[in-house]
């Protein structure tokens, strides 16, 4: 079941100095494409593509069992090579974000595993992973108290803000900030940053990310509406 969305996907408007002429790349999402996992989703942002699969609630190892809630596990596999320390760090970020929204208390002593496979990386990878994980959790029917989405901001040397940067823009940027926001109050669930930036720039990026997240959540809603209206 494929849905596409062109969110201002025509050529990006030239960003003036500190001008918010930023737009997100073309999104696409496909759900329920794998038969073995309980839920799966493939999320595309421009040329970045991540495939996510969710197994759960399922049996958990006694050593990892938590008596009053579900144990969440995230496995992130890079496109090439073996997973390293950077992947472990990202897995921790994604796992903690999912733990904040998944209602684990409804499924105690079970495990929910999210497996993410990077298919292609053209910038904003962590945000794409978060979006794919959210769509896969929805597809699996895991109870959540809110949806979440990932947005990446890049600041270049003269302070211009770019949303959803490509790999080239990320490399040339002075700072790259990735945020995960929840759908209920647009609160900041997760943040990880690279590079140097000032406090005021942080607030600016956060505000821009919150506005951009509205588009992402609207896309989630449309895509789910289309899926369920057919059946």
């Amino acid at each position: 079941m494929q849905t596409e969305s062109k969110i201002r996907a025509d050529s990006r408007t030239e960003p003036g100095p500190r001008g918010p002429g930023c737009s997100l790349r073309h999104f696409a999402c496909e759900q329920n494409l794998l038969s073995r996992p309980d839920g799966s989703a493939s999320f595309l942002q421009g040329d970045t593509s991540v495939l996510a699969g969710v197994y759960g609630p399922a049996e958990v190892k006694i050593s990892k069992e938590i008596f009053n809630k579900a144990t969440l596990e995230v496995i992130l596999r890079p496109k090439t090579g073996l997973p390293g320390v950077a992947e472990k760090s990202r897995e921790r970020l994604i796992r903690n974000t999912c733990e904040a929204v998944v209602l684990g208390a409804l499924h105690p002593r079970t495990s929910i595993t999210v497996v993410l496979q990077v298919v292609s990386d053209a910038g904003s990878l962590l945000a794409c992973c978060l979006n794919a994980a959210c769509m896969a959790l929805v597809d699996a029917g895991v109870p959540m108290r809110a949806l979440f989405c990932g947005v990446t901001c890049a600041l270049d040397s003269d302070g211009t803000l770019m949303l959803d940067p490509t790999a080239k823009q990320e490399k040339e940027a002075r700072a790259v900030l990735t945020f995960a926001l929840d759908s209920v109050e647009r609160k900041l669930l997760m943040s990880t940053t690279k590079g140097l930036y000032s406090d005021a720039e942080l607030q600016q990026c956060l505000a821009a990310a919150q506005t951009a997240s509205t588009h992402v959540f609207r896309f989630y809603r449309e895509s789910l509406q289309r899926r369920y209206s057919k059946s």
Binding site: V85, A86, K88, S89, E91, R92, L93, I94, R95, N96, T97, C98, E99, A100, L177, A180, L181, D182, E185, K187, L188, L189, M190, S191, T192, T193, K194, G195, L196, Y197, S198, D199, L202, Q203, L206, A207
Partner: protein, 276 residues
């Protein structure tokens, strides 16, 4: 009786204290534990430091070795951090390959070094394309009582300031490096990144410098790394309850104050070491 209540309902026990705006160890919500730092105690390392944040103890040792510069950056040396959380520091860790928390901490320290540009990697290069210094930074936690990231960042900074590299000249005839151990110089530390960690309770309350119990009971954590100009090197919030922009602003102001406290402490330590 209080000990019994604490075992059965740790969160409720904590909430009673938080309602009075203080914590079981007597600290206020915005107060750090006593910080002590000791530099240069390991004779075999090129630079070392020991940092105690209350009971949390982290020791950092830096060894400088020769290495070939990476092919895509022939005029840069490199820094390799490694955080070791052994079974010694807490019952939660087992011996063997580094667990998740150690890997996340190592990645965090690597990011702080990269983002803050604490040392210019070009300073570590001896001969472009052939020889450069490689700094192996080993951070070993001796006692884990929460807030490991702050302690590690501080220990790394103090140890880097303590590192003395000998002078190296390349002999043109033999093309070998000659090390002059008698002439040593300190590294050029450009910025002083200081980390401040917070724990979020019940989605609303923010407390500074959490102990290990507080970290377990908290619904989220946040670490801010700031340098002296008020620029942020890292905003590390690995999930947990949501925060609004206003709450982030409070965290920033607390981080600025913490930076001043730490800088003062470091200057005192290094001033007292000068006459040698």
């Amino acid at each position: 009786m209080a000990a019994g209540f604490k075992t059965v309902e740790p969160l409720e026990y904590y909430r009673r204290f938080l309602k009075e705006n203080c914590r079981p160890d007597g600290r206020e919500l915005g107060e750090f534990r006593t910080t002590t730092v000791n530099v240069g105690s390991i004779g075999t390392a090129d630079g070392s430091s020991l940092v105690k944040l209350g009971n949390t103890t982290v020791i950092c040792g830096i060894k400088a070795e020769f290495g070939a510069p990476p092919t895509d950056a022939p005029d840069k040396g490199y820094v390799v951090p490694n955080v070791d959380l052994s079974p010694l520091c807490s019952w939660r860790f087992r011996s063997g390959p580094p667990g998740e928390e150690a890997q996340v901490a190592s990645q965090f320290i690597a990011d702080v070094i990269e983002n803050s540009q604490i040392i210019q990697k070009e300073d570590l290069c001896i001969s472009s394309g052939k020889l450069a210094w490689v700094l192996y930074c080993d951070l070993i936690c001796l006692n884990h009582d929460g807030n490991i990231l702050d302690a590690c960042t501080f220990a790394l900074l103090a140890a880097l300031k303590n590192v003395q590299l000998p002078e190296v000249t390349i002999n043109e005839e033999t093309a070998l490096a000659e090390v002059n151990l008698k002439k040593k110089s300190y590294l050029n530390i450009r910025t002083h990144p200081v980390a401040t960690s917070f724990a979020v309770f019940d989605d609303t309350l923010l407390i500074v410098d959490p102990t290990e119990e507080e970290e377990h009971l908290a619904t989220g954590t946040l670490t801010v790394v700031m340098d002296e100009e008020g620029k942020l090197c890292c905003l590390h919030k690995p999930g947990g309850s949501g925060l609004t922009g206003a709450k982030l602003q409070d965290c920033m102001s607390r981080a600025v104050t913490r930076h001043k406290e730490v800088k003062k402490l470091m200057d005192e330590v290094f001033k007292s070491m000068k006459p040698k």
